[in-house]
């Protein structure tokens, strides 16, 4: 079955921008062939209540790099667990996340272009990004959050 969805929008519609601030940014790398042992650490009950707001993992040259953004108190427990069981990590505080989704974002081209071009043109640095399940997540320096919301709000149309 083939379904053709026709969209033509002067500005891409979104369901609105959501922001999270005062988050802890934790980054570390781990050997891909030892992923199971990392899984054993992450699946321990002591981390059961840790609620990550953002996570990406990328693989390259036998290593997987992970980025987590968590509320600061939960970030503390997460870091303690990493220090006890794993490896060194990079920590930045505070960072913010702005995220949004819209109609058929997962099926349409041009969404990432609109988001990244808008931020690039406004000289806003993206610290990390993850786009999946029809959502766009952008990790930013906390001081850039309001500016990012403003320029993205001009580039995209927020459905009323």
């Amino acid at each position: 079955m083939e379904t053709i969805a026709v969209y033509w929008e002067p500005r891409i519609k979104t369901y609105g921008f959501q922001k999270l601030t005062d988050l802890a940014f934790v980054e570390f790398s781990y050997p891909v062939h030892e992923m199971k042992s990392l899984g054993e650490v992450l699946s321990r009950d002591e981390l059961r209540g840790v609620n990550t707001k953002f996570m990406i993992a990328q693989e390259s040259d036998g290593e997987a790099s992970f980025i987590f953004c968590l509320p600061v108190e939960e970030g503390k427990a997460f870091r303690e667990s990493l220090e006890k069981n794993l490896t060194t990590h990079r920590y930045i505080y505070p960072v913010g996340i702005i995220f949004f989704h819209g109609p058929h974002f997962g099926d349409r081209y041009g969404i990432a272009d609109a988001a990244f071009s808008t931020l690039s043109n406004a000289d806003i640095e993206v610290m990390a990004s993850g786009c999946s399940s029809a959502s766009v997540f952008l990790v930013l320096v906390q001081d850039d959050m309001d500016k990012a919301e403003k320029v993205l709000g001009e580039a995209f149309e927020v459905a009323k």
Binding site: R44, D61, A64, F78, H101, Y109, F116, S132
Partner: protein, 175 residues
């Protein structure tokens, strides 16, 4: 032991994955590449970007498998900044898990389960209510079985595989 509950599973169609990495610290690279793919009417189904890694900046994206040739051509021709390297996997898929809570624990359980069965994880990204895993397409069924074995899924869960494929057309109704 009682299994953790998850709200459901969703499986993608067949995709391909491109991995771009290099020394340029400017996010303008992502802007340039996403613009190139938009100009080719190519939907990016999965994207992760880390510009601050110790070694290099890295952008990973997945597009539909039928866009492999056109995407690799355009990335090689126009998308690669000086010093950047492009590698790819031709046949991958995304498995998306919808956790109710305990996302990190669920992530850990999946890493253990897949690691035990040598199911690779080529990328992970979270959204508000989901965790998406990129793996080899030929491993998807095995990966689904591993998750079904490890978690308690609702009985009336939505179908795992997409039944409808959407394309974005240039034709505007009424033209």
């Amino acid at each position: 032991m009682e299994k953790l509950k998850v709200g459901g599973l969703k499986q993608s169609l067949e995709l391909c994955q491109f991995d771009l990495r290099g020394p340029d610290s400017s996010e303008k690279t992502v802007s340039k590449i996403s613009k190139l793919l938009a100009s080719e009417k190519t939907n990016i189904e999965f994207l992760t970007y880390n510009p601050n890694s110790d070694k290099y900046n890295q952008l990973i994206l997945c597009v539909s498998q039928d866009k492999f040739s056109s995407t690799s051509e355009i990335l090689k021709r126009d998308g690669s900044p000086t010093g950047w390297q492009i590698t790819w996997r031709e046949h991958v898929g995304i498995l998306t898990v919808f956790p109710h809570h305990s996302a990190i624990k669920i992530l850990g359980v999946i890493m253990v389960s897949w690691g035990t069965q040598s199911i690779p994880i080529h990328g992970i990204a979270t959204s508000l209510s989901a965790i998406s895993f990129v793996t080899d397409y030929h491993c998807i069924d095995k990966a689904v079985e591993a998750i079904q074995h490890s978690f308690q899924l609702p009985e009336n869960r939505a179908p795992l595989k997409p039944e409808i494929r959407y394309y974005q057309s240039d034709i505007v109704k009424g033209e």
